[in-house]
């Protein structure tokens, strides 16, 4: 059985269908829950709000899939982008979903403002994907952290750190190897890795690189971006 599940052929359509199955299953269950007349009003409102959050999550995925498919035909404006601003936007967008799941997400404050050369929309999507992926791997006690730092003189690393259950070395090796190659990223077992494949495409479109750092108590997914020198002129 194990082999059967792991070795199925994953075409892009199958992967997309699999990824959309998860929020649709949840939406269906929430809808069925809303039909239960024995539930009190507060619970029903909670279910309706969860349905909204799950729908928004699914819509982000469909938007990313479309964007990724059209990448080759598009021209992207590269500009100096405040990574602190991107971190704040992502935290603001995902905080309601995190709260609904009993989790939290935060960005580490930093005195120095840093700019990366990137496409604002693609970078935002990359970080949203990392942070969305981290939700599944976070624990109630430890917030998922978005942070950035200089790597050498010309690179800015923006990372999303989770403190979830440790993954076995083979799984991490698999993700790491596939992130570095041009193929579908088969991520952690419950996921087809579509999100990470899309992230890789978006990063490549910005001439950036994505990677993974394993920790004893979780993982950091990061994107390395060229540092903008614009601030030095001010």
């Amino acid at each position: 059985m194990d082999r059967g599940v792991k070795d199925r052929v994953l075409t892009p359509v199958v992967i997309a269908a699999h990824e959309l199955k998860t929020p649709l299953i949840l939406l269906r269950q929430l809808s069925l829950g809303l039909q239960d007349e024995s539930l009190d009003l507060a619970t029903r409102q909670q279910l309706a709000y969860q349905a909204q959050l799950v729908s928004e999550r699914a819509l982000r995925l469909t938007s990313d899939i479309t964007k990724a498919e059209r990448l080759e035909d598009a021209l992207f404006e590269m500009e100096p982008v405040s990574v602190a601003g991107i971190c704040r936007e992502v935290v603001d967008e995902l905080a309601p979903l995190y709260r609904a799941c009993g989790r939290s997400i935060e960005t580490k404050p930093r005195r120095q403002s840093l700019l990366a050369v990137a496409n604002r929309d693609l970078l935002r999507r990359v970080v949203l994907n990392f942070a969305d992926n981290a939700l599944q791997y976070s624990s109630p006690d430890s917030p998922v952290e978005l942070s950035y730092r200089l790597c050498g003189d010309s690179t800015l690393r923006l990372g999303v750190r989770d403190y979830g259950p440790a993954l076995d070395v083979k799984t991490l090796d698999d993700i790491e190897n596939r992130l570095s190659r041009a193929e579908v990223v088969k991520a952690r077992p419950h996921s087809s890795g579509l999100g990470l494949s899309i992230v890789k495409k978006f990063a490549e479109a910005m001439s950036s690189e994505v990677g993974l750092i394993r920790h004893r108590d979780g993982a950091t997914f990061y994107v390395d971006l060229p540092l903008s020198r614009q601030m030095k002129l001010i």
Binding site: M1, D2, G4, V5, R8, H18, K21, T22, L24, I25, L26, R28, Q29, L30, L32, G33, D36, S38, Q50, V54, A100, C101, G102, R103, L135, Q136, Y137, G164, P165, A166, L167, D168, T171, R188, P189, H190
Partner: protein
């Protein structure tokens, strides 16, 4: 009151299943992954285990193998609840102690408590 250990890594879906089991009168403990789950099995003493197949960081198969390796724990009925029901047969999972498979894509809220009652010793 019968005890059900629920293992589901989708947090919101897990809460939904938990609610349907609680309202049916079961005592429920929910785990989102397999880390430390054997400790929960020991301390909670579930009468039935309901588990997703593809979990965070693992499949449920290592847990099933572990349960089958203990005389007492191998008797706990397991219900697999999965979105891969099209690809998995009960015959394939029986050696892992699975007594029923529920399809996440078609399950109704009352199906889970009904299945638990059906496999209770």
């Amino acid at each position: 009151m019968s005890r059900v250990l629920l293992i589901e890594d989708d947090i919101l879906l897990g809460r939904h299943f938990e609610r349907s089991l609680l309202s049916a009168g079961f005592e429920v403990r929910t785990c989102e992954h397999l880390v430390g789950v054997m400790d929960v099995v020991d301390s909670f003493g579930p009468d039935v285990i309901v588990t997703d197949i593809l979990l965070t960081g693992s499949t449920a198969l290592p847990l099933m193998n572990e349960l089958m390796s203990h005389d007492d724990l191998s008797k706990i009925p397991v219900i697999a609840i999965t979105s891969l029901a099209d690809d998995i047969t009960l015959d394939a999972l029986r050696p892992y102690g699975v007594r029923a498979i529920l399809d996440k894509t078609s399950i109704h809220p009352n199906d889970l408590p009904a299945s638990v009652r059906k496999v209770l010793p």
